[in-house]
């Protein structure tokens, strides 16, 4: 045990200093001892959590520490699962005002085969800025046209698409809607309606074409004499029709949400997730009845209508959750995805239970993305995506002390932290 303590000291120093100029992520066997373990799914446990070969191998009060494990004493600290942001442009937009650094938005209405993960810059400054705040996994969502592309779930450690891929992809549909986008949007009601109808017709035409594509490719699979020309757009939508891929339907205005639900039901889309859902509170019962899960956000936002009470965006997740909707929370941000816990915190301040708010950024998105066997809670067998904190992770005051993503212990380092270290006591100071 003494040796372990010494090792821990050495290890802690190694993380911060001995690696020299470059701090790298590493893998190994770890024992996080004396911690309060917030499993999210199985209550609070006091004791030790063991990480081995990238996974949680044991947790509880009566756990044997494997020989050679790096022991990290977490006395007074808390262990939570890493947080999952259900919708971001992190990694695909670097500086939003400079269009050549924005890879989120391809030209055209029908580009479902555009892969967000292809353009994900794993070394983007914002990636480390995000993860040091305990966000370990994000959905990277392309934006723009009617079918802007395919979103991917990624773990924020690794250097190649294979290394970061976290096991979920979904096709994005920006459902035709009639909303204005801000005070500067001066389109008349008629123009809006016309554009909405045009987009809806386009969507239905695309869907009909994709149904034909499914029939033709099904037939071609049985009859080699039938040749099908390459059609990556239709091929991708066909995967949704065949129930192999999830359709992420972005919709925000109440009437649009209802229309989107009806559309998805009419088309018998097998896997549907509603995203955005800013006015979900107006039609919460109808969403609940559909059974479609929701990824909503940003939560820290203005109400969608001048006549609405000021807190409607904050209250939206709680109202939907109470109506029986499965609610995950997203930031829909790029450089400030680190604010995810605060969006969940505002949801809790304005009506959602604290427990549900924490779940909305951990186990619920994991379930929605079909990766709850790997992520979203602290359970034996799951990937070690873990943060060790000084307290409630939704509170701004809380500090994150250790971070594991996908089994790797990740240095708590980012450009924001480096600049702090360099400039807190600048040298030379006022006089050179």
């Amino acid at each position: 045990m003494k040796i372990n303590v010494v090792f821990t000291l050495f290890f802690t120093l190694a993380l911060t200093h001995s690696f020299g100029q470059v701090k790298k992520s590493t893998k190994g066997t770890f024992a996080l001892t004396n911690a309060t373990i917030e499993t999210v799914t199985k209550g609070t446990v006091s004791g030790t959590l063991i990480i081995s070969e990238g996974k949680i191998t044991a947790l509880g009060s009566n756990v044997t520490i494997p020989s050679g494990a790096n022991v990290i004493d977490c006395k007074g600290m808390f262990i939570y699962p890493g947080m999952i942001d259900g919708g971001t442009q992190l990694g695909i937009v670097e500086v939003s005002s400079i269009s050549l650094t924005d890879d989120s938005d391809e030209l055209g209405e029908l580009t479902p085969h555009m892969e967000a993960i292809t353009a994900f810059n794993t070394s983007a400054t914002a990636v480390s800025v995000t993860r040091v705040d305990g966000i370990t996994t994000t959905l990277v969502v392309p934006q723009g046209g009617l079918f802007p592309g395919t979103a991917s779930l990624v773990n924020l450690v690794g250097y190649t698409p294979d290394q970061i891929y976290a096991g979920f992809k979904g096709v994005v549909l920006n459902f035709p809607g009639a909303g204005r986008r801000g005070f500067w949007d001066r389109r008349t009601d008629e123009e809006l309606k016309k554009q909405e109808e045009k987009a809806l017709k386009q969507l239905n035409d695309i869907w009909t074409e994709a149904l034909y594509y499914v029939q033709v490719t099904d037939a071609a699979a049985k009859d080699p004499s039938i040749k099908v020309a390459s059609n990556p757009e239709m091929a991708r939508i066909a995967e949704v029709i065949r129930g192999k891929m999830t359709l992420l339907i972005e919709t925000n205005k109440a009437s649009d949400i209802e229309a989107a639900i009806k559309w998805a039901q009419d088309k018998k889309v097998a896997k549907v997730v509603l995203t955005g859902v800013a006015e979900g509170w107006r039609v919460a019962d109808k969403i609940a009845k559909s059974g479609f899960p929701v990824i909503t956000g940003p939560i820290i936002a203005l109400p969608t209508r001048a006549s609405d009470y000021y807190d409607k965006a904050y209250a939206n997740p709680g109202i939907m959750s109470k109506a029986g909707v499965k609610v995950a929370i997203r930031t829909n941000d790029q450089e400030n995805v680190r604010n995810l816990p605060f969006h969940a915190g505002f949801a809790a301040a304005y009506g959602m239970s604290k427990e549900d708010a924490l779940k909305s950024v951990t186990i619920v998105p994991a379930e929605i993305f079909g990766v709850a066997d790997k992520l979203g809670s602290l359970e034996v067998g799951k990937l070690a995506s873990i943060m060790v904190t000084t307290g409630d992770p939704l509170e701004p005051k809380t500090q994150i002390k250790y971070l594991f993503i996908d089994g790797w212990i990740v240095p708590l380092d980012s450009r924001h932290i480096q600049l702090y270290e360099e400039f807190l006591n600048r040298s030379p100071g006022l006089k050179k």
Binding site: S96, G179, R415, L424
Partner: protein
């Protein structure tokens, strides 16, 4: 023409001196008082009489009939002050010239702006309604009190607040005038010369008037210099009568304006945004220049790419009077949360974090004798939260301006619009996405705002 303008200004002065400000009396019972400047008081009462704080302590009694608020289990703090916003005004930018020191946003206050109510719902009682950042020298700004409910624009002014003016450095004036109009400034070098020329013109203008005043004694027919409001305003800055609030990001441009101010002996200087203020914190502190910053905004344009969320903490620990501002009708609603982020990024104490949104912005606006802390004799501008305001779970319950409850969470109706009008009718559903990616500061700077926001692509 300028004379007529001057007469109008005079009329304004007279009318706002006369504007009837509604003031209230009330007793807040049994809360935790966070004075910000003089520590905390547990289970304490606070008495307000005719708009001023008159007593703080235990077991206070008020005259019969005084409105009482039970603050048991609640936290009472000074009303939050936003040193940078654009709410409550009709126009943000007069983007027609690199220097528009002759304009004033206070000409067109808008008491109907719903954003003022929404700010109250975040505990904010005063804000600095600023001109935009399209020009190197923008217009004069207005410090307003959030007396939402009044229909009289005059009642929105914080009577007696010092004059302030907006300056702007970097990309915005370079884009609008250099890129847009092909006139200086297209670079940060050009921006510097707009200021230097403006102050040289002002000095010459003052000299001409001084000469005239002397001449007049000897010669009643002496020729009067031509009145010029722009030079006049710049001269008032040189005389120390107007505080400069300068939109800035990079450390080099911050140092540039510091040097300009040194050369013209201008002392009253607040940098706004100041994303790279942390790099020149010792210089700012030594000069006595202040900084008003965002908690964590960065990377939305290139000049904020090398920012850090530890900016406010570094500035504070280096002795710079620092505030956190919103520059947004959305962020102004949760400045208490923005301040709390400095506890994650730099571990500021509760007092230091709360000062960023109360007494420090009050100092930056020159109104700290009146507001920004809970002290006897100060204006009764107060926010009451159901938890500690730096906690994510805290919800503002009451916001009080001059002793009048202007926001009451348990009683207020949902629809708080004061009146519908042709331009302010319910225009339906708005999805407010990425508000911080677009500078509200640049609102109105381009002829076709829809084009600027990329709407033409639809």
């Amino acid at each position: 023409m300028f004379k007529i303008l001057n007469i109008f200004n005079l009329l304004f002065l007279v009318s706002f001196a006369q504007a009837q400000v509604t003031k209230g009396s009330l007793l807040i019972k049994n809360g935790t008082i966070l004075t910000v400047t003089k520590g905390n008081m547990e289970n304490a009462d606070l008495l307000v009489e005719n708009g001023k704080i008159t007593k703080m302590g235990k077991g206070l009694v008020a005259p019969a009939g005084t409105q009482t608020i039970d603050a048991t289990g609640k936290f009472i703090m000074p009303g939050i002050i936003d040193a940078h916003s654009h709410i409550g005004i009709d126009v943000v930018n007069e983007a027609s010239r690199p220097s528009t020191a002759d304009v004033w946003v206070g000409d067109a206050l808008d008491p109907l702006d719903l954003s003022v109510y929404r700010a109250l719902a975040g505990g904010v009682t005063s804000s600095h309604a600023m001109h935009g950042s399209a020009n190197a020298v923008g217009g004069e700004c207005e410090t307003i009190k959030h007396r939402y409910g009044t229909l009289n624009p005059e009642e929105m002014r914080m009577e007696g607040a010092p004059r302030t003016i907006k300056f702007a450095l970097g990309e915005n004036p370079m884009r609008v005038h250099g890129e847009g109009n092909r006139i200086v400034p297209a670079t940060r070098m050009g921006v510097e010369q707009v200021f230097r020329k403006g102050f040289e013109d002002a000095k010459a203008y003052m000299a001409a008037w001084d000469l005239y005043e002397k001449e007049k004694v000897k010669n009643p027919a002496a020729l009067k210099p031509v009145y010029n409001k722009r030079h006049e305003t710049m001269a008032e800055i040189l005389k120390g009568n107007i505080i400069i609030h300068c939109h800035s990001y990079r450390s080099d441009e911050i140092l540039m304006l510091l040097n300009v101010c040194k050369d013209y002996q201008i002392k009253r200087l607040v940098f706004q945004h100041t994303n790279e203020g942390f790099k020149v914190a010792p210089e700012l502190a030594a000069y006595g220049a202040m900084a008003s910053v965002f908690a964590d905004w960065w990377a939305y344009k290139f000049e904020v790419y090398y920012s850090t969320a530890y900016n406010a903490a570094i500035l504070t620990k280096n002795g710079v009077v620092t505030s956190i501002n919103s520059d947004s009708e959305e962020y102004i609603r949760h400045l208490y949360h923005e301040a709390a982020k400095t506890q994650r990024y730099g571990s500021l104490s509760d007092e230091e974090a709360l000062a960023l949104i109360t007494i420090n912005p009050a100092k930056q606006l020159g109104i700290d004798q009146r507001v920004g802390s809970l002290e006897i004799g100060k204006d009764a501008d107060i926010a009451i939260f159901d938890g500690h305001p730096l906690s994510i779970y805290a919800v503002p319950q009451y916001t009080i301006v001059d002793g009048v409850v202007r926001f009451n969470r348990s009683k207020d109706a949902a629809d708080q619009r004061l009146q519908a009008s042709a331009t302010r009718a319910e225009t339906g559903f708005f999805l407010h996405k990425e508000q911080h990616n677009h500078d509200r500061c640049l609102e109105g700077a381009f002829e076709n705002t829809a084009t600027f926001f990329g709407l033409e692509r639809e």
